[in-house]
Each structure stands twice: as structure tokens, then as C-alpha cells.
């Protein structure tokens, strides 16, 4: 039971409705609260997908704390080291030396040589003008047999620039060296979670005899290097788009952006592009649409008018998802999002026009700390934050699209929503753990 020190705030204080919601920021950017839902992956989790890689962070103790314990909680403390920045390092002009000698020191002390080193610099290095080019060039010359990858935890740049997690997905593929082309090989770029083998995209590729390389599938370091030989690279998450495009541009691959979508037309268009690029037959779209419609009907039959809430950490296209469910008679009552994706403008306009009463809540607004975490009736949440804020134990435990894709993704999600309606979960125990799908040694 939540112990309230400050009393409650009015339910209306942070709420808006789709009809009034601004674009792309429906709420003002003010002080930020952090709800205790931690299932989304962070840069430590993602970096660990490179087999045998070792991560080194160069930052102040306060920043180190979060990343050190992320690694420890996922049982990977032995693949993580850090160099601590002290006050004098900000002024003594020896930051480059500290990093170079620090990395050397760590590599000497490791029991075995890593396949790669992901070296993360942070906000203060941007402000100091640290010569990162020199650092990485020197480290690469000292350790030519280790892939040294420049990575960034410069959170201060994320609101007006690229998120560190997006930069990481660029860096992780930046040092793949050109290899002879393997035409029947395709990369999935930038995913944390493996894509369902049952999705049309995967089925088409497998039926066509393609080898699929995806770090999220736990491929070896050798296979990771072989990604350079692929003819096609596909990104399905917005955070992987830039990495996919840059890798493809550099090594002459075809880049396909096939984001998880809830629009039948967009899914079909994506699959057509894949078919064309990979010279594969297009699937029977009418049948696939029929399967998705049938799944949505079954879901409606099972949960009826049960309320549904969706949060933006669950799927990258939540407005599209809300529209799909609402148009099939399902009762989506709340969306939790602090900002809308640029990719969702059409869905935003659609919902604004057709469902103006749909409630919209932020997750980070200061009032959300004191918002009653309850809902007056049974509610099914899609996503951890929606579960937390509505206080429900009926929720789909999903982050970052959950490996779902295409029509198959819609069918499977319907099943997950129905199951969430039937079965309760221990919300706290599920959502406070970091990196959904990974080992968690956390003790909530």
C-alpha cells in the first residue's frame, strides 16, 4: 500500500484528452518524476549483446552507480569495469591520459581478452572538449586485436539530439569490417528482444532460405562480424533505424525500415518492400488480415468492455495500437505517454478526430508521483507503467514491442491481452526488475 506523505493530487491535474492534446508534446516539459517500472533495456543491457564484449564507463561515481549495478543485476559484473572521474580530473588537463591508461590498466587485469571493448564517455566529456578522436585512435593502435567501440552516455544531449541508446545502436555496427557478400543473409539491427519466428517477416526470410543474424538472438562474435557480409539490413525499432541506415550505407547493403505497426496497410507495404528487396513472394495479405481481424474479434468476445490502458514503453506505436483496438470495439480508456513519436502523426490526428475523449496521462509529470494508483473498475494494462499507474495486476508485461511484428504480432498481442485479463500478476515483482527478458538478480 502506498504511504502518502504529501496527500493526493486531483486526478485532473495532469490529465488531458486526445481532443486537446498538443503535438508532439502533450504535456509541458517540467520537473521529472521516475516511476518504478524498469523493464525497458538500457545501454548496459544492449551493449552486452555483443558476445564476449567488455564495457568500460568513464564517469563520476553517481553515474557509475546505475550502470555498475545494471550489469551486476543481470549477472554480468565480470563484463563491466569503470574509470572514476574525480573533481581534479575536470581541471587538470589529463582526461585523455586517464582514459587511455585506465583502459590499458583494466585490459591488463582482466582474466581473458575481450572480443570488443565498449568504452562509454559521458556528458562531462562533451563539456570539457575531451579529445575523443585521439583517445580512440591511441587505444586502437595499442590494442589492434580488440574491437574498440566508442559509445556515449551523454544524457544531456538527448532532448535536443540523439538518445544514447540510439547512438549505441549506431556504434555497435560501426566497426564491422567489409566482407564478401552473402546474398542469402540478412541482418536485424538494433533489437534488444528477438523477433518472433512466427511473424510474416521472419517466415518470409526463413522460407526464402535466408540466414538471419540478430544480436538479440544471442549470436556469436564470429556471426556478429559476419553481419558485414549481409545484403540486407532491417530495423524494426525506431532506435535501430539510424544504425541500420549507417551500416547499410557504409557497406553497400539494402536498408529496410520495417517498424512494428498496427496499420494493416503499412504492414503490407513493409512486407512488399521486403519481398522486392529479397526477391521473395508476397504472402496472402487477405488471409493475414482475416487472421488479425479474427483475433481481435475473439479478444472482444472474451474481455468485452473491460477497460484497457496502454503505455509508451510497451510499443513504439501506441497511438496506432490504440486506434486498432478502439476500431475493433475494444475499450481503450487511457494512454500514458510523455511525448508522441514523429512516426505517429497520422494516428494522432485520427484519434484526435475520432476518439477525442480518450484520456491521456504523462508518466514523468511531478503530479504523477501523487496520483492515486488505482482505477475504479477492472482494467487491463498493456505495459509496465500503465500497470503501475492504474494499480492493476492484470497486465501484458511487454516493453519495446516485445519481439512482436506484423499481422502475427497483432494476433499474438490479442492473445496476451486476453491472458492478462484472465490471470493476475505480481505487478511490483515484475516491473521493478531491469531489462525484461534478462536474468534479474534484483531483490525487490
Amino acid at each position: 500500500m502506498l504511504k502518502m506523505i504529501h496527500g493526493k493530487v486531483n486526478l485532473d491535474s495532469a490529465r488531458t484528452r486526445m481532443g486537446e492534446a498538443g503535438w508532439p508534446l502533450p504535456f509541458p516539459q517540467v520537473l521529472e518524476y521516475g516511476p518504478p517500472a524498469h523493464g525497458t533495456w538500457n545501454i548496459v543491457h544492449t551493449g552486452m549483446l555483443i558476445e564476449g564484449a567488455h564495457q568500460i564507463y568513464v564517469c563520476a561515481g553517481n553515474c557509475n552507480r546505475g550502470v555498475v549495478l545494471t550489469a551486476a543485476e543481470m549477472g554480468a559484473a565480470d563484463r563491466f569495469s569503470h574509470i572514476e572521474i574525480m573533481e581534479e580530473d575536470l581541471w587538470n588537463g589529463r582526461m585523455e591520459e586517464l582514459i587511455i591508461e585506465g583502459v590499458d590498466d583494466i585490459l591488463q587485469k582482466l582474466p581473458c581478452k575481450p572480443t570488443a571493448v565498449l568504452l562509454f564517455t559521458v556528458c562531462v566529456h562533451r563539456f570539457m572538449g575531451t579529445d575523443l578522436d585521439y583517445i580512440f585512435s591511441e587505444l586502437r593502435s595499442r590494442h589492434p586485436d580488440i574491437m574498440i567501440i566508442d559509445c556515449y552516455m551523454d544524457c544531456i544531449a538527448q532532448k535536443d539530439g540523439i538518445f544514447p541508446s540510439e547512438k549505441l545502436r549506431i556504434s555497435m555496427y560501426k566497426y564491422l569490417k567489409p566482407l564478401p557478400r552473402r546474398e542469402k543473409q540478412v541482418n536485424l539491427i538494433g533489437n534488444d528482444l528477438p523477433t518472433a519466428r512466427t511473424s510474416e517477416m521472419m517466415q518470409m526470410l526463413m522460407d526464402g532460405g535466408y540466414k538471419i543474424l540478430d544480436l538479440a538472438d544471442g549470436i556469436s562474435f564470429g556471426e556478429y562480424r559476419q553481419m558485414a557480409a549481409s545484403g540486407i539490413s532491417i530495423a524494426t525499432h525506431p532506435l535501430g533505424k539510424s544504425g541500420c541506415e549507417q551500416l547499410s550505407g557504409r557497406l553497400g547493403m539494402t536498408a529496410l525500415y520495417m517498424p512494428v505497426s498496427f496499420s494493416y496497410e503499412e504492414i503490407e507495404e513493409q512486407l512488399r518492400r521486403l519481398a522486392q528487396a529479397a526477391r521473395l513472394p508476397v504472402p496472402d495479405f487477405a488471409a493475414l488480415r482475416g487472421q488479425a481481424d479474427a483475433a481481435l474479434c475473439r479478444l472482444k468476445e472474451e474481455i468485452g468492455d473491460t477497460a484497457i490502458a496502454i503505455d509508451a514503453a510497451a510499443f513504439s506505436r501506441i497511438l496506432g495500437l490504440a486506434g486498432l483496438l478502439l476500431n475493433h470495439g475494444l475499450r481503450v480508456v487511457r494512454i500514458y505517454a510523455d511525448a508522441f513519436s514523429e512516426e505517429e502523426k497520422e494516428d494522432y490526428l485520427y484519434l484526435k478526430e475520432h476518439y477525442p475523449q480518450l484520456e491521456l496521462y504523462p508518466t514523468m509529470h511531478p503530479d504523477m508521483r501523487l496520483m492515486p494508483r488505482e482505477y475504479p473498475e477492472k482494467i487491463i494494462a498493456i505495459g509496465q507503467k500503465a500497470a503501475y499507474f492504474t494499480g492493476t495486476s492484470h497486465f501484458v508485461n511487454v516493453v519495446e514491442n516485445g519481439g512482436l511484428h506484423g499481422f502475427d504480432g497483432i494476433v499474438r498481442l490479442c492473445g496476451m491481452i486476453a491472458e492478462a485479463g484472465r490471470q493476475e500478476k505480481d505487478t511490483e515483482d515484475h516491473i521493478v526488475r531491469k531489462g525484461l527478458g534478462l536474468t534479474s538478480l534484483a531483490c525487490p
Binding site: 500500500m1 502506498l2 504511504k3 502518502m4 506523505i5 504529501h6 493530487v9 491535474s13 517540467v30 520537473l31 521529472e32 518524476y33 521516475g34 518504478p36 524498469h38 564517469c59 563520476a60 561515481g61 553517481n62 553515474c63 557509475n64 552507480r65 546505475g66 549495478l69 551486476a72 543485476e73 559484473a77 565480470d78 569495469s81 569503470h82 574509470i83 572514476e84 572521474i85 573533481e87 580530473d89 575536470l90 591508461e101 585506465g102 583494466i106 587485469k109 582482466l110 556528458c123 562531462v124 563539456f127 552516455m153 544524457c155 544531456i156 544531449a157 538527448q158 532532448k159 535536443d160 511531478p366 503530479d367 501523487l370 511490483e428 521493478v432 531491469k434 534484483a442 531483490c443 525487490p444
Partner: protein
Amino acid sequence: MKQTAVRMSTYTADVSGVCSALYELGGMVVIHDPSGCNSTYNTHDEPRWYHMDSLIYISGLKEMDALMGNEEKFIRDIEEAARDLKPRFIALVRTPVPYMTGMDFEAAAMRIEEETGIPAFYVPTNGMHSYVYGAGNALALVTGLLAKERSAAASGKEHPLRINLLGVTPLDFSVGSSLSSLKAFLSDRGFEMISCLAMGSSAEEIAEAGKADVNLVVSSVGLKAAKVLQRRFGTPYVIGLPCSFGGEKSRFAENLASQLQKTAECGFSVNLCSGNCDVNHSEKKAYIIGEAVTSYSIAAAFAEKYGFLPRVICPLDSPEELMADEILFLHSEEDIVKQIEEADLVIADPMYRALAPAGADFIDLPHEAYSGRIYRNRIPDLMHLPDWGTEHDL
């Protein structure tokens, strides 16, 4: 190299320390940071986050605002939230970037206080010190702010000895039974609790802190607050934690209880974590790693129980008064590894296992400020430590 850590974790830093210390006091804490500090704090350093609300926020600092010295948004956002949420006080917390840009937090705090009418202060953190520094400063500041002047005591009226507990946060005591056992220990010996800084006491109780006859500093975090109370009310303090093993009474703990009585009477403060252990270091090379006051107190109780005194290694930046010869202040992985390379026994958080020599016996003593929530359910009651002799050759 002193600044590299190949396998060592890192302690909770000053920023989280401030938040932890002020969590239950009804204030609003604003970390001037772009992102990350809030998540680190509420995931790894704050076991109360899910079940107890507290107004702890980050400012969402943007690069251009930091570069251009635009503090208006920071101040305006705080004022807006404060008018809406009406906190008892506002604490501003600094992180590395505003530290580098030299933002004037004292001026910002003054302006916020003037414009909202809510007391505002700044805790001089920069993310590069440990929680002992951050939480210690925060407790000192908030004690100065909340503690009321005491009225003249009723003459001739007998009353039990009144006490404040100073330096209690989940970072050193977690959320298990340690605090209730500590309170019970003192209550059983006739002490009346005025307040506990800062877990389980309201701001109203802390306002009465000046009424105490003596203060008990149970971790390094509490020392600066003890100094504030000493300066303002003349209250003396005792440093130490009444630890015991296996449900038995410990001389160290009982001595601490009687020392509280003596200190209240004579008015001289005493540090029981320095030169007060009558058991010699044995040939057995034993070490206990952790926060100075709790570790030394555990070591003293251990010495009584098992006949030899483990040497305390404290990796934290601690107040000078605690820099006793008995405690080794070693901050780097390199120094700690070197110190314990021939150890027969290491007592420390399980995350130190990676640093211990292969042949050494290792006793797990999880510490929330080191391993966060990973071993939370194995953190022992520090007042009733288990008999380690049943599983280890002591």
C-alpha cells in the same frame, strides 16, 4: 591505477545520499540533471520508492540551457511544482554538469525561497563524493532548518534520558529489522526516543530534536547533524552502533548504552569507534569492509564473540573525526586488493568476493549502499547478527 575498478562496484554517491536522507521529511528534492540520476536513485538506492511517496525529481537539464547559463527554466519549474505540491522545504542538488558550469545554486535557492515563501536550500553535491558526504550534509542542513528552539525544561521533573538517532538511512540500515531492533535496544534500557534522522520520524518529531539529552550517531552520515545539534543545543553525542551476535548481549552494546548515560551527564562527546576495543588484532588476518561506524561496531562485537578483531577497511569519504588509526581508509580497488591479498577472512558485501584472495574465508555482509537491492533480503539485523561461527571456522 587508483581510479580504475575492474571488478569493484561503487558506493551510492552524494546525490542519492541527499535524496535518501530527506526522503521522509515532506520536502521536495530537485536534482539538477538531464536524466539518469533519478533512475539510479530510485532503482538502486531507494527501497521506499514503490510504497512511499516522496517529492524527488530531476530537472531534465538540457545541453543548451547548461551551456548558456539559462537557470530560469530550472527555477520556474521548481516554483510551479512547489506552488502546486506545497512541500515543507525545497532542496537543490547539484550533479557534474552544473558543477562544471559553475551555476550559483545558493542564489537559485534564495530566489526560490523568496518567491515561494518555502524554505529552500542547496546541498553542495557534484556526483563525485559518496553518500556519506551527501546524506551527511543534507541531514545537517535539514536538522538546522527543522529543529525548533527548545523551551526551558521543567525544573526538578524526572524524565527518562531522551535521545535522537542520527544517521539512519536505508543505505546503511536497509528496510529490514535493524532500525526497530535499535529502537528496542534503547527503549529496553530506559531511553526515550525523540527523533530518528531520518527514517520513521516525521518532520514534527525532528523539530523536537533539541529536547534530547544525548545523541547517538549510528553511521558516518549522522555526524554533521550531531555537530549542528551540539552547536545549537549543546547536546553531546556518542558515536557507535550497539551490535551483537547470535542473540547474546554484547559488552560493546552495553558499554554504548552506559556511555550514553555518562555522556548525557558530563556533556563530553565520545567516539566508541576509536581505541575502545580491548581485543587485540590476532595473527589471523581478518578484514571487514564497509561504512566506518557500522563496520567498526560490528568488528568490536565480533571481537568479543570470536576472540579476534577484524581490521576495518572503509572505502568511503568519511568525516575527519572518524579517521581513527583502527580504520583503514582505502578508496581504490587496487589498494583494497593489495591490503587483503593475504587475508584469512574477509567480511564484506558479497560483491567484494571478486576482490578477495582465493584462499580466504568470506562472510557475506550485504550493504545496500554497495550492492543496492541485489542482496536486500539477506541483509542481517545489525543489532542481532547471526552466529557466523556456525558456518565459518572462527
